[in-house]
Symmetry: C2
Subunit: 223 residues, 2 copies
């Protein structure tokens, strides 16, 4: 039964964010719910990737999505059209989610009945990298039109993520984006990061990404 919930969130004192994030992770482990925090610039393709991911995994995993936005509910509406429950967090002016906000988003969901919850964080390469949301893994999208210099300019984001999706590879034909240079720059910051080349629009590379994600969720749930 698809539905959208709208929750207004406010930034809380950050001193104890790390502790809250750890407590949330413990709860997720107890409930065997894998929480993935998906980050990127505005317009890198988070929502389209989510739609592809839902399409690929909905028969195997019980999923839900938390959408964070400064304003509007357009992304949650797109997700809800798939029949998946979407929680919309409206952050007002805030540029990131913290663990308290995510906890508030999860309140509306029955965690024990979900295998995978994906957070679509606010579109921003700076602030979301600085706040532990309590997620089990962090993923980011870098899209081809953004340029191959982004690891040099936003190193923290590439450092805190376990997965990088290089999206919009269908734009490579029009772009001087150097995939190998990006990989080299990213691996220098974070040697253990997993990198996928995808086009959420055409579907290219989505099978590899979703198979990897499914395996991660299965391993997490098996403890």
């Amino acid at each position: 039964m698809a539905k959208i919930r709208l929750i207004e969130v406010k930034e809380e004192i950050q001193a104890d964010n790390k502790a809250k994030a750890e407590a949330l992770r413990d709860r997720l482990k107890a409930d065997k719910t894998f929480l993935l925090n998906l980050m990127s610039s505005p317009g890198a393709g988070k929502t389209t990737l989510l739609l592809r991911t839902i399409e690929a995994l909905r028969n195997d995993l019980r999923m839900s999505v938390i959408e964070a936005d400064i304003d509007s509910m357009v992304d949650a509406e797109k997700i809800a059209r798939t029949g998946i429950t979407a929680v919309q967090l409206r952050t007002g002016g805030f540029c990131h989610l913290d663990a308290s906000m995510v906890e508030k988003g999860l309140e509306g969901l029955d965690l024990a009945s979900l295998d995978l919850v994906i957070i679509e964080n606010v579109g921003n390469l700076v602030c979301p990298a600085e706040f532990d949301t309590g997620a089990i893994k962090n993923a980011m999208i870098l899209s081809v039109p953004e340029g191959d210099d982004k690891p040099l300019k936003y190193p923290l984001m590439f450092t805190v993520c376990e997965v990088l999706l290089i999206n919009k590879i269908d734009y490579l034909q029009l772009s001087d984006f150097d995939v190998q240079a990006v990989k080299k720059r990213v691996l220098r910051l974070n040697s253990r990061i997993k990198i996928f080349e995808v086009s959420a629009k055409t579907g290219q590379g989505i099978a590899e990404w979703t198979q990897w994600l499914k395996k991660e969720v299965d391993e997490f749930r098996a403890g």
Copy 2:
């Protein structure tokens, strides 16, 4: 004589940012130096647009550029190669510039001998919109691959800008980006905004943009 200066900036107490911004604007008016604050998502094309703008206006206007980045000096290095002086503000973790940071950036420049200083703000559609930098005008870039829903999701940014550059129009052939829908959404937020369609890569639309900017600078300097 091209050079790069590197300045590390820290966020100050924001309570008096507005007052500092007003004081800075008064100083700019006294010195007849037009300060343009250029904002966008990461990878929307700020630096490439700046290079085109410098190329078009360098014989008519005495220019300088302030580059803001979390890390790295790659943008300032690109600007300095044109022979224009670039000041690099390294913001550490901060996601925006405020008036104090800009003031610090201007310290290294002889304002009275400059007609136009352009600030390339941190790549971010959220935080920079909230802080008055002291600029005379705010401009933003929305690039085609980011999608036409951005005015719905980041309304403040579109509201605080006097100019919108829709960049990467050479990507329209691969995209379902609806230029007319964007214009409608933006004008609903900000009916007085000036909109240009450009490709900083191919040069399309750059003449219209730089002619407009030149006219703004001339009018400002004439008082």
